[in-house]
């Protein structure tokens, strides 16, 4: 029973180490990257990623872009109402787009996980909360840490079940 407890706790801790590896080290797959083009509309206070040919809807259900790890991402950024910015966490990219112009942003998705992009040009009251998400799949930090959470909970509950005498 002691062994089971240590095993479960160990897996729980691994759940934390995995996202550390994922988020801290830049890992680029060796092959020539596939190019992923995304049209990204910005409007107070959200981003709308459009599929090619898709019409612009007023309410974005979610400003979320999903690409695969290692892809070359080409964003065509436009502003609908007023000037907006685009700051991408973890890449240091920071651009501003004026209404009527198109700014092209290119980068390689070097790390799996979720990275937020934020408006960097004051655009109104909720400007600091104008946030979109770039999810680079497979989202290893999320899956491994979720597994970590489950095993951690098992380890704590297991402490009361398996280590009765020693508790």
């Amino acid at each position: 029973m002691r062994g089971a407890w240590f095993l479960v706790s160990g897996i729980g801790l691994l759940g934390f180490i995995a996202p550390v590896v994922g988020l801290v080290f830049r890992l680029t797959p060796g092959r020539t990257p596939v190019v992923r083009e995304v049209e990204l509309l910005s409007q107070a206070f959200h981003y709308d990623p459009l599929q090619p040919g898709e019409a612009h809807t007023r309410h974005a259900l979610g400003g979320r872009i999903e690409v695969r790890w290692g892809e070359r991402v080409v964003l065509h950024l436009r502003a609908v109402d007023t000037a907006h910015g685009f700051y991408l966490d973890g890449y240091g990219i920071n651009r501003v787009v004026q209404p009527g112009e198109e700014v092209t942003i290119e980068f390689i998705a070097i790390r799996p996980g979720k990275f937020r992009f934020r408006c960097s040009e004051t655009c109104g009251p909720l400007h600091p909360f104008m946030i979109g998400e770039l999810v680079v799949t497979p989202n290893l930090p999320f899956y491994s840490s979720a597994l970590g959470t489950i095993f951690l909970a098992l380890a704590v509950v297991g402490r009361f079940w398996w280590l009765k005498g020693e508790a």
């Binding site: 996202p19 801290v24 959200h46 979720k114 600091p128 998400e133 009361f160 009765k164």
Partner: protein
Amino acid sequence: MVVRGMARAFAYPRLELTRCSLLRRLVKHRAFQFMLILPNLAVFVLVLVAAFLGTPVGNRNFAIIFVWIVWWAALIILLIPLAGRIWCAMCPIPAPGEWLQRLAIVTRRPGRPFTLGLSWPRALRNIWLQNGTFLAVALFSALILTRPLATGIVLALFIGLALLLSLLFERRVFCRYVCPVGGFIGLYAMVAPLELRVKDPQVCVTHKEKDCLRGNAEGYPCPWMAYPGNLWRNIDCGLCTECLKACPKENVGIFLRPFGQDLLLARAPGWKGRSLDEAYKAFIMLSCALIYSAVYIGPWGFLKEWANLSDPAGFALYATGFLGVNLIGLPGVFLIAVALARWIARAGIPLRRLFVELAYALVPLGLTGWIAFTLSFVLVNISYAIPLLSDPLGRGWDLLGTASHPWTPYIPELVPLLQLPVLWLGLVVSIGLAFRIAQQNLGDAAKARRALLPIASFMTLIVLLFQRLYLG
């Protein structure tokens, strides 16, 4: 195993900090609390000036950035987890009312206080009102957090209400029963490793005069309407240090102790025990941390627009959802978990009782949830504060030469690595606490172990939800 917190008072190790004579002299000094309040009052005045006269652009206004980022982060990440209600000791909001009541700022003025001195209605001697005021403010948070004028009006209302209540009622009823901030500070203060308590409750029992209750030449009667001899939990004490000054037996001290002891307490003299109002505070805070993580940090534009009152129908939907999750949704799911726990543990205790008791196990998780949420914006946006030091009103000044410092997010991509351990700490502590509370209520460890399964599952689910929002 002896169930802790039932038998004798202070069944945990305590280190008396006020044994240090320098600290004791400091806190016994009449000007101690005033010196804590003064710098905060100065900043507060600047906040009000900026709120009413400064730029309406939130992230360029001192009021917004210093209240909702600097003060908020300091409160939730440092002050509450480490020192509990310490903010209540230095808060400028009730100060004008209290000074007017006393007709004194520092000194102990003898005689009648300047107030009608009504006593607070019995039915309101709980934190239900604070649950309500918190929800009211929280519902309009998108306005308050982003518009300097809205922040100014809310803070001015707090001051005005505190002043009015101090003229009508005795002591600091605003802090104890009305203030929306005081409610959750009190709840989470129970986690802190710092407490103001009597050294030996037996001394109080035999001390007939009870100077702490009546006040004496050294100190005012407890402004929080506590009786130190029966003070067991940080939620009930505002750390004003009046009793420390008044007690002629030197029986009051400030202690370091293990985290979270107040949450283990099941019964104590003069305390009615765990109650539904505080349980609801725990639900509301946990729900809000989740909802805010989705609304403010999430990618959903429509949620932000609804919360921002951009269209009335959307806001009505948002308000319904917000209040629904806070008052029915999350407590409802928890109730199901408790019902399951009661069933698989074959417990005889009434469901309502067990529901209230186990809700206290959510307190550490709620606090870590708030810390995690705060981490998601504080490092990203704290740099807005730098230009404001030079240009607090957003009027183009450059007092210190920092006015053009650009917005600079600090390690935004690594924030999840800070949030994960915080959430996990909350999960581990909350599950452990749930086991102890189950044991107190069900009597034996075998039943508590079984009852733990659905409760721990609920807590795990909550952490997974946070994780989905932050990393997923």
